[in-house]
Symmetry: C2
Subunit: 339 residues, 2 copies
Amino acid sequence: MRTDVNTLGEFGLIEHLTKQFSLQQPSSLVGVGDDAAVIDNGNFMTVVSTDMLVEGVHFDLAYTPLKHLGYKSVVVNLSDICAMNAFPRQITVSIAISNKYSVEALDELYEGIRLACEHYNVDLVGGDTTSSTRGMVISVTAIGQCEKELLCYRNGAKPGDLICITGSLGAAYLGLLILEREKKIWAEHPDIQPQLEEHELVIARHLKPEARLDVVEVFRKAQLKPTSMIDISDGLASEIFHICKQSGVGALLEESGVPMHPEAQLQAINFKLDPITCALNGGEDYELLFTIDPKDVDKVKYLPDIYIAGEILDAKDGVKLNTKGGKLHELKAQGWVHF
Amino acid sequence: MRTDVNTLGEFGLIEHLTKQFSLQQPSSLVGVGDDAAVIDNGNFMTVVSTDMLVEGVHFDLAYTPLKHLGYKSVVVNLSDICAMNAFPRQITVSIAISNKYSVEALDELYEGIRLACEHYNVDLVGGDTTSSTRGMVISVTAIGQCEKELLCYRNGAKPGDLICITGSLGAAYLGLLILEREKKIWAEHPDIQPQLEEHELVIARHLKPEARLDVVEVFRKAQLKPTSMIDISDGLASEIFHICKQSGVGALLEESGVPMHPEAQLQAINFKLDPITCALNGGEDYELLFTIDPKDVDKVKYLPDIYIAGEILDAKDGVKLNTKGGKLHELKAQGWVHF
């Protein structure tokens, strides 16, 4: 018998492959299923997250500078640590490379990794460097630290909680669309220079995303602890479904509350896309989606770059979007499909 | 300018790429350069090691059952944790796979991973599953625990210390040679069945190595702490050079003291190889090489499966092998060259 992996989807496959595994070690507090694993070390919890980036699947070196790639490969993992309300401290970086890469190319990659380490104050403490038969694979593991009582999981949202989103959504996806379009034009007409300058914001959001460590720091200062949290890597719709599924709740999202940058809205219209679709189903924003107890609403109101975008409902109410036109839509967890 | 990565070698490349990185976090006790990184968590140290295995480079699915591959990909990382004198507790597993792999094939792989978790009592706590454009890449990160004062580094060997080796060396390399030979014969004459049964021991050592967690447990019971330790993944010569370089010492190895299984010796002769060369420059034995203070010699003498194979010298004396014929050879750190 041969079952194609595509029949399960990414999350289905992970669930299928890991369901035979149980946690035996007393220090294994949380295993597969949240943004990161949690290991109990007595005083502090160690939070661990890992991601693998594959050339031709997650990045295209035709328009991704290696320095940006190095930076981004660290950031996507730090984002997972932040989504646990933890502080990233260390990373390990493993790479497999074919012989088409020179030492100078790797220097560029590692310069990006180093800049991310510097910016987020994390240490590179290990890794592996090996050859591949084709292309580049980067695997980063991020390690963070958090007091046990401050950790935020995906399963803590309760009906009545407010849904909050940091920053703005959709720009990274539109940046990707522009880069893909210009690559195609360039392939067909090598004499035409790519038009990238005027789209700097959305392209930067795709090539050089940031993890919202600043938001975790703001939470600490404001003594605010979200009831649940996840980072928005696969699109808002996919992430809200993770929260709802793991918390056993429903949700009502307000389209008018979902933050989007004017430049991203404009680009969406240029591509004949509904802006909210880009926010819901685009990916790689690396913003945070979290829920708060309504009693904390005054704390959130005065925090910068945080937007209230809806409310948690009972599970029976489903996951819905209230559009600007006043219509209720049942949401679907489309997200990114990697396979 | 374009410098080929081969000009630096694996260790040279890692050193080159990581030399711009410094440790800033107070909890980063040890970074790149030992078997694993060490993170200070107050009561216990967290020990982290990571390895990447690439199809066509580290494994050949023509003769590697997926279950064995899953088992081995865990073991090689646990071996690094053991080499720190620490106990492995958790792993994360990331895989990139092309669409040639079915769910059933991945089930086999994860069954091997699960068996290793069960055998070594470690928990799978996270990972990533993604697609690749070709072949399979497996990245495993192992996390262990150890009291600070019991950690064994590569840099603690002192002149006069005794050099010890666990188990036996060379068999995994000879197993690989047999598998490669039978694969070639089979490719040329598909009607001839591979002759593997009579070589079970050496083939098993290649396909299903074990980490010497039992030795770490024996050390605890015997209240023995090696002065330095490393796992033998790239061949004895390469590892003894790591110890000597990082400890600032020399070494005298006794050929008569290097443990080899009679079956491995026999196979070496069949391949017209000097058995000691297979122990020195073969790889993937995953035994432990360690040094002890001479005052601990009585503790070691009565421990099972541990062999005294030489003595640590001053750095000026170099790294030498005293052959069974009584000749002194200068050793070269050939080891495995991956690039």
